[in-house]
């Protein structure tokens, strides 16, 4: 199952609420159940693999031991022949034949087991990949479900408060106003800072007697007003 392909078909088919149709809680539960089962199966198979691998190692050790035994008895047989004891050499040869039979049977068993271990390992790896894919698939389902939840929540919120109007434009306007107010405040702050600096500089100069009297005399003002009214 590919959730994206299903959704595509649903959209093409004109299902208006495709998300809801494809992704219901039942689908998620089924997915989760499948994943749990696959996970359990993999764990079970891994346990079997451990046991089989253990047996394989055990058999390999036995196999090595029989090979060594064969080598030992061969050396003994040669030594017996060298010392002219053919009777002993024959007994050694018989022993070698017995051990070889055991060795061959062990080898067949070991080969079969080794193959089984490899096959089981491959199967587990394949299952793990499939499980990983299923997990990703579930993630897509859940994402779709959660986005659905998130968008329906938002839309119901705005439907309750903003069912009319060119909502977006009005919101943008309010944001711009807020941003402008923020900028204005920043500027006002800068201006206040600058002004404080200037004031203190003026004060310093005036205290030093430089820059003259800041406030104009009443006589000067009267003279200016008279001039303005044409009586000056």
């Amino acid at each position: 199952m590919s959730i994206l392909r299903d959704m595509f078909s649903a959209f093409k088919g004109g299902v208006s609420e495709a998300g809801e149709a494809v992704v219901d809680s039942q689908a998620i539960r089924i997915f989760e159940q499948n994943i749990r089962e696959a996970d359990a199966a993999i764990k079970e198979a891994s346990r079997s693999l451990t046991i089989l691998k253990g047996k394989e190692i055990q058999l390999k050790r036995k196999l090595d031991e029989t090979s060594e035994d064969i080598g030992d008895w061969e050396a003994k047989a040669i030594a017996a022949l060298d010392s002219g004891r053919e009777d002993l050499a024959t007994k050694a040869a018989e022993r070698i034949a017995e051990i070889t039979t055991e060795h061959d049977s062990l080898k067949d068993e070991h080969d079969a087991l080794r193959k089984e271990v490899l096959e089981l390992n491959t199967l587990i790896q394949q299952r793990k990949r499939t499980l990983e894919k299923t997990r990703n698939e579930l993630e897509r389902v859940k994402t779709t479900d959660q986005i659905q939840k998130a968008t329906s929540k938002i839309s119901s919120n705005f439907a309750a408060t903003n069912s009319k109007t060119n909502r977006v434009q009005e919101s943008l306007d309010r944001i711009r106003k807020k941003q402008q107010a923020h900028k204005d405040n920043m500027k006002a702050g800068e201006w206040m800072e600058e002004k404080n600096e200037t004031d203190s500089l003026d004060k310093e100069f005036s205290e030093a007697g430089i820059g003259g009297d800041a406030s104009p005399a009443a006589d000067d003002i009267l003279a200016r007003l008279k001039k303005k009214s044409g009586k000056g």
Binding site: G19, R135, K149, I154, N157
Partner: protein, 143 residues
């Protein structure tokens, strides 16, 4: 799950990004509703899955688009999408959304940063496409 979300709400409500963005977050039904100080008009919803955290902003509905402008708007949205930092646009059940996706173990600071950026992205994107959204008067005439 909800414990993680509760902690996230608490941290968001006491956090300020290096850019000075603050958040007002509330948890409701496994969903965090966040208002960012740099965009109080378009809240962001946070949802969480096993793998990721999704931050979703609702932009506008299909029926808010001017008559006959839907195809053009869709194309423009696709064209703008790669230029929007950290966010993607989408359409879900007739609602245009802007969303961000983060790994579930993302650092809180990254999440907060992404929320601030997303809030800005919403303004930028809406500013660009708002001429294609139906105005009050037009919609009034239409109905």
């Amino acid at each position: 799950m909800s414990e993680i979300l509760e902690e996230l709400v608490l941290r968001l409500n006491t956090h300020s990004t290096p850019e000075g963005t603050t958040f007002f977050a509330e948890l409701k039904d496994e969903l965090i509703h966040v208002v960012c100080s740099n965009n109080e008009e378009f809240p962001i919803n946070i949802v969480k899955t096993d793998m990721q955290i999704l931050t979703v902003s609702h932009l506008f509905s299909e029926d808010e688009v001017m008559d006959g402008k839907l195809d053009e708007l869709n194309k423009i949205m696709l064209q703008l999408n790669p230029s929007i930092p950290l966010s993607s646009v989408g359409l879900k059940d007739g609602q245009y959304i802007l969303f961000g996706a983060m790994a579930v173990d993302t650092l809180f600071e990254n999440l907060a940063h992404e929320l601030g950026v997303q809030a800005e992205n919403v303004i930028e994107l809406l500013d660009a496409v708002s001429p294609m959204l139906a105005s009050n008067e037009i919609r009034g005439i239409k109905s």
